[in-house]
């Protein structure tokens, strides 16, 4: 980690940017609720602890006036529009606050016919970056605290939304640690990679936070919860853990929006987004597919071409 990159006196990103986004979100949220255009605004509000935030479903003008955007706004709120959490929203049109990466998830859900674009009012945030896992939310955002995904972010500015809240400041140019880590793993022998991943997976306690927080894990019956047959062992042992994370990576291949929420919420600090990002890279190379802020009709694993590569098939 490049911990000395930035000292704490000059923040990595001007806090005024977040304040401006906050003001714009509040104005829009209040306007939408007053005008009756939406039944609720899904956004972020402050938690009890210094700097902490939590998702909020604001249905009143008071609540809307307390929505905010800060580097602690890590959650991908598209989760609330997936089947898993949608029941908590009031009936009717809703507005949602999304960062660029979250918008890709929203677009993915629309692409998978989970919701229609006209059912949501999308408030995009010009997002300079958010905290990663293990960061101290009470401190200003530093290069060390910045989420790894944000270093490689290409969607700071959401497109195709109903409103963009805030403007982008000049962004720091930081090395893409995730890409470096993937390259490091690729350069290893298979035995070394196996040792790396099995050590990581051995820490897994199967709290399933990775699944529950993922907007794309909306199956009403997860394969891994089925027991006739038991495809993946449920006990938190290395064997079942490895199978679980591989199955998950496979089920997200070509769908994952890269929000890296699975990695952030993992209490055991397993670098899950490396798997997702690696799969995304491969699917781009093989089929030219990338997660997008615009809904796409097909994902690479639900479509095909007659002339797809089959050099690996005898």
């Amino acid at each position: 980690m490049t911990s000395n990159h930035q000292n704490t006196e000059t923040p990595l990103i001007d806090p005024a940017c977040y304040a401006a986004a906050t003001a714009a979100i509040r104005t829009e949220a209040v306007r939408l609720l007053v005008a009756g255009e939406v039944a609720a605004v899904v956004g972020y509000r402050a938690g009890r602890r210094t700097g902490s935030v939590m998702p909020d479903v604001a249905t009143t003008v008071e609540a809307a006036g307390q929505l905010l955007f800060s580097p602690a706004c890590q959650n991908n709120l598209a989760l609330f529009l997936s089947k898993a959490k949608r029941e908590v929203l009031p009936h009717g049109r809703v507005a949602i606050v999304v960062k660029g990466c979250d918008l890709r998830a929203l677009a993915g859900l629309i692409g998978e016919s989970q919701l229609r674009r006209d059912e949501v009012h999308v408030i995009g945030v010009a997002c300079p970056g958010v905290f990663g896992a293990n960061a101290d939310l009470s401190k200003p955002l530093s290069a060390e605290g910045l989420a790894r995904k944000c270093r490689a972010c290409k969607v700071h500015l959401p497109e195709g939304v109903d409103l963009v809240a805030g403007t982008l400041p000049p962004l720091p140019d930081l090395p893409d640690l995730e890409a470096e880590e993937i390259a490091r793993l690729e350069a290893m022998t298979p035995q070394e990679r196996w040792a790396f991943w099995t050590e990581q997976f051995s820490r897994c306690i199967r709290c399933l936070a990775c699944r529950q927080i993922c907007p794309f894990c909306f199956c009403t019956q997860c394969l891994c919860d089925r027991n006739r047959p038991q495809a993946v062992d449920t006990s938190p042992r290395p064997a079942g853990n490895t199978a679980w994370h591989m199955v998950r990576a496979m089920h997200l291949a070509g769908r994952c929006s890269g929000c890296a929420e699975c990695e952030r919420v993992c209490p055991m600090d397993i670098p899950l987004n490396l798997l997702n990002r690696k799969m995304a890279q491969e699917l781009y190379e093989l089929y030219g597919f990338e997660a997008s802020m615009q809904p796409q009709e097909q994902t690479p694993l639900t479509s095909y071409r007659d002339n797809d590569d089959q050099s690996f098939i005898k």
Binding site: M246, V247, L286, D308
Partner: protein, 167 residues
Amino acid sequence: MHAEKQHHAFEPKLVAFVCTWCTYAGADLAGTSRMHYPSNVRVVKFPCTGRIDPVFILRAFQKGADGVLVSGCHPGDCHYMAGNFHARRRFAAFRQLLDFVGVDLDRLQFSWVSAAEGGKWVEVVTELTERIRQMGPMREFRELDAEEHWSAQLDEPEIRAAYNAIP
């Protein structure tokens, strides 16, 4: 199978996931034509390669397979029009994942074997068997299955004896 069957120090266990229309029929043809191929392979048939979930392959390795073969109809011959086209993409992606996690891809073979290709079935199975024989047993998944979290481990009896011996 036959008198001239060689004895090897290691007989690999192979699992073949095949589609019922092409490869299964091809394997059947090999059998009815009295062609010889290694008996190391256990065949599991599916309606279509499109039904073969990567989790089956993981499960096979976890349950002790040393190698896995997935085989179905040639592109364009799928009885369900596009099952094998989807499978082709899915397995292309799955191979990348396996590789990234550190599984040796030589243990996994994909092939197109039609109902008429009894000979190709024999060739594919023989080649894979020989290759896996050279590679030796698939240790990784089996070791993983034996691994326990430290808190669930018991002392080795020798350690216990040593502990008890110390005053």
